[in-house]
Amino acid sequence: MTAGTQQGRPVAAAPAIELKGISKSFGPVQANKDISIRVMPGTIHGIIGENGAGKSTLMSILFGFYKADAGEIFINGQKTAIPDSQSAIRAGIGMVFQHFKLVQNFTVLENVILGAEDGAFLRPSLAKARGILKQLAEEYELNVDPDARIDELSVGHQQRVEILKALYRQADILILDEPTGVLTPAEADHLFRILENLRAEGKTIILITHKLREIMHITDTVSVMRRGEMTSTVKTSDTNPEDLAERMVGRKVLLRVDKAPARPGKTILEVDNLKVVDSDGVERLKGISLNVKAGEILGIAGVSGNGQSQLLQVLGGIQHGTGTIRINGQEIDLTGQHSDGQSRRARGIAHVPEDRQHEGLIMEFTAWENTILGYHHDPAYQANRLLMNNAAIKDETRGKIERFDVRPPDPNLAAKNFSGGNQQKIVLAREIERDPDLLLVGQPTRGVDIGAIEFIHQQLIALRDAGKAILLVSVELEEILGLSDRIAVMFDGRIMGERLPENTDEKELGLLMAGVSGEAA
């Protein structure tokens, strides 16, 4: 089916996709401003930009999710109207969303044929899809068991199903939105091989990402978006990560974290044989032992869902567990009435949770209200026995906002109205300024812009240099490698091994993250 479309392509290479003057506003927010772009057939074209730069909006317009306010779309040189997803599919466009659009309790086959069935009865459609899937699997290394249910598949395999869905609909143009966010390094490499195979077959691929490394690694051309505008399009071979970061942010950015060697002091946190069984009876932590000293950052690497969340939750007092945890040599209660966030804070543990919108902040509350969450019993915040001293709290918040460069600097703004990076700064300000002995940090820069990432990393290093212990959980390997003084890799509720950042690399960590232990760890 691919051969036919290749021969049918016009001889003069018209762009596979050409957008002219696309604009789109949501109320007062202009998400896309007069965007023009040409994507040549048979290439991998990267689109890079910070959160909210308008990448996803642009692709949603291309896939018929939104209607552009102005502008034209040309597919293979033909002016094409794309009012809905059906027309996008007809025009040969397939999209792999960041959050997969799969039906969890359907099989792979059922998901593939959904919306592209032949006739009213399923049996012939399923049989046909089975044959085509087998063929695609051989052609592109896209192996998935067609009868497996989606919720039994790993994230990497689910993503393959999404690609198969697009190919089954005979897509010639494939758009992938942040495809590697949820993958292990090995899975990401496999994905890139698939993309290279697709390119070799003449397919056109648009890759949306904020990861500079991926852009450099696989794309032929890269376009940079900033604040709704397409600021530049360059050949990938003519640029480098620093240059791209500067084009994205609009100023020079320090990509590597600048830090002095750690000077570890006494042991602050000791964890011994920690186990957690969740409410479904699944053992999520299977005997974790680790320690963190004053003045050092222990990074926990791992693909999300391998127990890192549970580790943070037990340490933060949100979940119960068995085993021993000592803070400054004193054992803390893991199961009884003294096992909650409040008592952990009293012992000098501060917690920046992984999911800041659900656990770190109350989105409807204002910034100043959010800056005292969990510390609201502090006598300093009380006016008398009945009322809180709101004026004093707001004053304090103004200071925090200034020191942590929260924008806009308005303590009365609701948390939901700040960008991801500024929300994270509010949480960090609250936790760091309580002067904890141990800071638990989960995914500190998830959904945070490059500029704010730089600031947050500097704050964490400063806290370390002030002699505090930091336990950092992140799925971003670059972040782990950049910040940590020691790295522990988690897989399936266990620690697969510990490495020093200067003696390891992404490849070795990636193997550990996939459960392959190297030499005896």
């Binding site: 949501f26 996803s56 909006t57 949603s60 896939f63 999710f65 809905d84 997803s85 059906q86 996008a88 599919i89 999209m95 969303f97 959050h99 659009k101 799969l102 039906v103 969890q104 309790n105 359907f106 059922e110 998901n111 044929i113 959904l114 919306g115 592209a116 069935e117 006739g119 009213a120 009865f121 399923l122 049996r123 459609s125 869905k165």
Partner: protein, 321 residues
């Protein structure tokens, strides 16, 4: 308990389970598409009234059935409009429909017939008549099998056979057709359906319409087959029991048949044995009458194992940005 009594209880089980089964299948289609429907009760009630009223006036039970389905479809359309088009809260819309039906039926009945909120008793062609299956009479005297065939299997109205036939039909439609695949998908992950280029709204309206038709038949059955006319609140919570049965059945057609037969059986027992004497302790009639409802509470409290509802159930579909 002799054989004949057992047969009679089972016979009435089938008759009492029929409206529950129809309503349960109605809910199944709606909820499988992601639209929770607490308004089964109200739709049945409206259909019961309209079918009885039209059958009484026209003398034709078939016209009555059509009118009942029409009334139920109208309420379905309101529910669809509120919860699909305007993305309102599905529970509130359902409750509103129940109130609307409970009040309107009585008021309109009083206005039309002046019989204290009832319809006139249905006679002759105004009711569904029992159907004698072939050879039922002549096989009646065959031991065991004869009475089973004559008393239990034969002698029900057409709607009973229809309801039972709808079980395999629903299963086939849901699990073997394109429509069923899309319907189940839209209740699990409407975004998957939307990105596949299929209309979420169209599918959900189709599901709600099927729900309306089935509720209409259920209501018409109550007023024109099980009873002979409409009386105030004659659904007596059957819509809610059907919802409980739906959870019990884990949103599957064949399980729905078993679940509603169980509830029908309990109602049949309550109807037949008013006071049960258990060696000194007399179980009062009120307890027996309450038994199906008690079981409903037990089931809803989750004592029947894990029942996973359709994942997108109850949530209006809004495209993500």
């Amino acid at each position: 308990m002799d054989f004949l009594t057992v047969l009679q209880v089972l016979d009435s089980t089938v008759r009492l389970a029929t409206p529950l089964l129809l309503a349960c299948l109605a809910g199944l289609f709606s909820e499988r598409a992601g639209i929770f429907d607490i308004g089964l009760e109200g739709k049945m009630l409206a259909a019961a009234f309209m079918s009885a009223a039209i059958a009484a006036v026209s003398g034709s039970v078939w016209l009555g059935l059509l009118a009942g389905i029409g009334a139920s479809l109208l309420l379905s359309a309101i529910h669809g409009l509120a919860s699909i088009t305007f993305r309102g809260n599905q529970l509130i819309s359902g409750v509103a429909i129940n109130f609307l039906a409970a009040g309107l039926t009585v008021v309109v009945a009083q206005d039309w017939f002046q019989q204290g909120g009832r319809t006139p008793s249905l006679i002759g062609g105004g009711r569904f008549a029992p159907i004698d299956l072939p050879l039922a009479k002549s096989l009646q005297d065959v031991p065991v099998l004869g009475p089973i065939y004559h008393d239990l299997i034969s002698g029900h109205t057409i709607l009973v056979y229809l309801a039972i036939a709808l079980v395999p039909l629903s299963w086939w439609a849901l699990f073997r057709t394109r429509f069923g695949l899309r319907l189940r998908a839209v209740g699990e992950n409407p975004a998957a359906v939307d990105t596949a280029g299929v209309s979420v709204i169209g599918l959900r309206y189709a599901a709600v319409a099927i729900c309306g038709v089935l509720c209409g038949i259920a209501g018409a059955y109550l007023a024109t087959a099980l009873q002979a006319g409409f009386v105030k609140d004659m659904t007596a919570g059957r819509g809610y029991i059907a919802l409980a049965a739906l959870i019990f059945a884990k949103w599957r057609p064949w399980y729905a048949l078993s679940a509603t037969l169980l509830f029908g059986f309990l109602q049949a027992i309550a109807l037949r044995y008013q006071n049960i004497d258990l060696g000194g302790i007399v179980v009062p009639v009120q307890f027996m009458d309450a038994l199906p409802y008690i079981l409903t509470v037990v089931i809803l409290a989750g004592f029947v194992g894990k029942a996973i509802p359709p994942r997108a159930g109850g949530e209006p579909y809004v495209k993500e940005r």
